[in-house]
Amino acid sequence: MDLLSQLRGQIADFSAFLHREGFVDDQFTQLQKLRDESSPGFVVEVVSLFFEDCEKLVNNMAKALEQQIVDFKQVDSHVHQLKGSSSSIGAARIHNVCIAFKTCCEDQNRDGCVRCLQQVNHECIQLKNNLQTLFKLEQQIIAAGGSIPAMQ
C-alpha cells in the first residue's frame, strides 16, 4: 500500500473515531465542506479562533466562580457564548457540558458550576489534541501529493 492510501485510511479511521466518540458532530463536517482552494486554512483558522475564545471564557468563568458572592448571571452569559460557538464548530462534547453548566448556573449551584468548568477545560484540551492530530494527518496527505478528502 502506498503512503497516500495509508494516510487516507488513517485519516478516515481517525475521523470516524472522532465522530463515534462524540468529540465532533455533523456541524464539524459542514465546516470542513466550507474549505476550498481560496481558503485552504479555513478550518484551522476557525478552530484556532474558537480555542482562543474558549480559553478567555474559561478564565473569566474561573474568576467569577472564585468570588465571595458569585455573579451567576455573568457566568451564565459566558456559558451561553461558549455553548453557541462550540455548537457552530461541531464541538459536541463541549456543547453538551455547556448545557449541564447552564442548569447549574440557573440553580445557582456553585459546586456544580466548578465541576462543569473542570469538565469544559478537560474537553477543550482533549479536542485541541485530537484536532491537532487530524490537521497533522491532513498536512501529511498534502505533502504526499494528495488532497484532503471530503469527510463523511
Binding site: L34, V46, K83, S85
Partner: protein
C-alpha cells in the same frame, strides 16, 4: 440548481452579519461568501445601527440575539424605526417559544436556530429573491 447570486441582474446580494462571537461571524461569512454574497460584519447591535446611520444598506441582516452594548431585539427595533426594510433574520440558540416570539415581535422577517446550515441560508435567499421580483 437555481443560482441566487444576482448575476443576472448584475448586482451582488449584500449581507450584514451581526454577532459578538467572532467564530460564528467567520463561519456565517464563509457560508454566505460561497453563495456569492458580499459580507460585512458588526460585533453588536449598536455597530449594526451605526453602519446604517452612516448610509450603508444591506439586502440581508443576520442578527444574533444576545450581544453586549445593544442586543438583537433592541437593534432590530431601532433599525425598523429608522425605516430599514432589509430582510432581518434572527439567529440564536434560544429555543423557548416565548423568547423566539419576543425576538420576532421586534421586527424580524424570520428566525433560525443556530447553527446556520447552508440549506437554511438558501431558504433565506429565496425570500430575498422573491422580494426582489415583487418590488
Amino acid at each position: 440548481m437555481a443560482t441566487s447570486n444576482g448575476s443576472s441582474t448584475g448586482t451582488k446580494i449584500t449581507a450584514l452579519v451581526v454577532d459578538d462571537d467572532r467564530v460564528i461571524n467567520a463561519i456565517h461569512c464563509k457560508r454566505l461568501n460561497k453563495l456569492g454574497i458580499e459580507n460585512h460584519v458588526a460585533a453588536n447591535g449598536k455597530e449594526a445601527v451605526d453602519l446604517h446611520c452612516s448610509g450603508k444598506k444591506f439586502d440581508l441582516i443576520l442578527m444574533d440575539r444576545d450581544m453586549p452594548i445593544m442586543n438583537g431585539i433592541e437593534a432590530t427595533r431601532e433599525l425598523r424605526a429608522m425605516g430599514v426594510r432589509s430582510i432581518i433574520v434572527g439567529v440564536s440558540t434560544r429555543s423557548i417559544k416565548q423568547e423566539i416570539q419576543e425576538f420576532m415581535d421586534s421586527g424580524l422577517d424570520d428566525y433560525q436556530e443556530k447553527p446556520l446550515t447552508s440549506s437554511k441560508v438558501i431558504s433565506i435567499l429565496h425570500k430575498i429573491n422573491c422580494n426582489e421580483f415583487l418590488d
